[in-house]
Symmetry: C2
Subunit: 387 residues, 2 copies
């Protein structure tokens, strides 16, 4: 891979400070960050035009885009997603499965595995899997198909991912169905994130689950018990437990703008993880698409099943970031936390992702002063430029 | 009235600092606060025994105690309440009416008026009225009787309180029923507090009502629209609007302890006003009592109608204060805000109530280090001592 320098940047550093400078890239990694121009460089030159450089977005909860869904289990489909994601600033992600038959899930995992750690696929990097279902509560299933919901089973996990749960990063489950929190404890031992979602848990169950290792709440406020004044529920746990990350779909459809403000104000940038939860319809026109064999109708920003249930989103990370900035007046540092750093830390890839630092992967996005995406670099390769 | 000195105190001052010293009382008012002992005092001596002196509690929402209810419209009954309240640290209060027939409300107002500004009744001071209903939403009536609910009517207010609304301090109403916010605007002009309660208002309606003068939320979280992730409701407004006071019944029954913690953490001591909302059963054994002609059964801390609806409380202010201190780790300064200062400011009596300051009424409570009430002084007179 050719060495590269991106000159003339405003660089957002890991501590949130922004400096004028240039970023040098060697073999896909950031080799140097310099505040003074360095002449006589023997490699590719790229003019940053004074843009703001931030770490590429990490989307830990995404089902599809550009016509493809990871559950299709098709190499070519996943390749389309990987190519698409840099257009919204995403440079790494978790392939997120849905509640389906064991064979179907197994097949999706086997196919998509081929993308992990494989540099032949130019585009966003698949970091592993987010298993959303089938271990969820039927009454909070949202758009997850009822017939494939299953009680928590460690055996099934091992069948799909092997005894060491290779490449499994997050499991969304209903903790109230996990007897003695056995699955959560097992996942914790394997360094896999347990996330409460599609759940009817009480506040106390979440607190107990947290003590067994649960650290994340899946698409916070959606498909979970809300706040009642005598039982503050999973949503209350998200507000009150300072050790839980909260995934947020900032599309203004899944949550009202006032709820997004409330989350920004009280949960704050240290615990919010922006996600898209997007489906195959993202990047395509309005119309009818499929999600786990169900018809999903997309009109504007809204994707619904025939009964009106929200069925994922068509949100692009860059748009979620812009909305949160507008509503919550986040600083640049707060933005890099909610869009990249927090996920990198939780997924244990902060040694190579989640900030612009020497030695880390050159996953960079360049933004103008209105936070409009201009360029995306994945492992140092230019994968998107605004036309 | 004899001059008095209370020596050997820890005195909580208006700014929250606590000093060792003594408080001098002349004609019912605090005449001097001294950090050094003053000898040769020609008046009554009282040994404070090193207790903490705080401003007496102000309960802006109370229906009754000790067998009596303000709605009874009986002088002797109200006198019983006035005598009872110092036993829980309350030194001033608003007589709170309930939804009932216009004549009934009128009669209750006329009788109780005789207590206002009248020093013949030794005990807690009635500062005026809190009119709770009849201008409320039928579907959020709680224990307010359905048949007397009425649409907001300024004419009715004038009939009960006169054209200038004398002695009316707070009106609890459902703002969504107040056409063009006419009553709220009128109350605002008359310097009467509008409080949203027993309401189905949306977040936006509360925000509009606030722009017309609404400043208080009645027994926050009870009998109002809760937080939904796409419509955060009246409860959401309480959390998000920094200019609203929130009445809180801290009995652990109306709200769970977790919700009380959440309110303490996110709303905080500048906007919480502790109330009791207590009924005639307070201070009496478990049994069946009446509330607006309905049977109310009291077991422990819980008072309910026959259908199970909560019907006021039997909470004592001192117990609410202790619970909030335990749950929210409030400082002494925070405690004086939520139990006295905030209400005094909102009710426009902070020139004479709500803090221990020279020139203010000598409404004082003495507490031991566990916040157990030892003595209560109302306008300088000892009205309660722990046996």
């Amino acid at each position: 891979m050719t060495d590269k320098v991106i000159r003339n940047l405003q660089i957002c550093l890991e501590d949130g400070s922004v400096i004028r400078g240039e970023v040098f890239i060697q073999n896909g990694k950031i080799s140097r960050i310099s505040e003074t121009p360095i002449e006589n460089f023997n490699g590719e030159e790229f003019d940053g035009k004074g843009y703001l450089a931030m770490p590429g977005f990490i989307d830990q909860h995404i089902h599809g885009a550009s016509g493809a869904d990871f559950m299709d289990g098709e190499l070519h489909g996943t390749e389309k997603i990987v190519h698409y994601l840099p257009t919204e600033g995403t440079t790494s992600f978790l392939a997120t499965t849905m509640t389906h038959s064991p064979d179907h899930i197994h097949n999706a995992v086997n196919t998509n595995k081929q993308f992990i750690g494989n540099r032949n696929f130019k585009g966003a990097e698949m970091l592993g899997f987010h298993l959303e279902g089938p271990f969820i509560h039927p009454e909070q299933r949202g758009a997850q198909p009822l017939q494939y919901i299953h009680k928590p089973s460690i055996e099934m996990l091992k069948e799909w991912f092997g005894a060491q749960l290779d490449d499994l990063k997050i499991v969304t489950l209903a903790p109230e169905l996990d007897t003695n929190f056995e699955m959560i404890s097992f996942l914790h031992n394997q360094q896999v994130v347990s996330s409460a979602g599609h759940t009817k848990a009480s506040f106390e169950i979440i607190q107990s689950a947290h003590r067994h290792g649960l650290t994340n709440l899946t698409h916070f406020t959606n498909a979970m018990t809300g706040i009642h004044h005598r039982e503050i529920g999973v949503v209350g746990a998200g507000f009150m437990n300072n050790n839980l990350f909260c995934e947020v779909i900032a599309d203004g459809v899944h949550l009202s703008t006032e709820m997004l403000k409330m989350i920004g104000k009280f949960i704050g940038s240290d615990r919010i993880i922006l996600i898209t939860d997007s489906i195959r319809a993202k990047g395509l026109p309005d119309g009818t698409y499929t999600l786990a064999d169900q018809d999903v109708t997309v009109v504007g920003q809204k994707a619904t099943l025939q009964n009106g249930t929200l069925a994922g989103s068509v949100l692009r990370m860059i748009d979620g970031v812009k909305l949160m900035k507008e509503l919550c007046h986040f600083t640049i540092h707060e933005i890099q936390k909610v869009s990249s750093m927090n996920a990198a830390k939780q997924l244990r890839v902060f040694d190579r992702k989640g900030s612009i630092s020497v030695g880390k992967d050159a996953d960079l996005i360049l933004l103008n002063e209105d936070l409009e995406l201009q360029h995306t670099f994945c492992l140092g390769e230019l994968c998107f430029s605004k036309v």
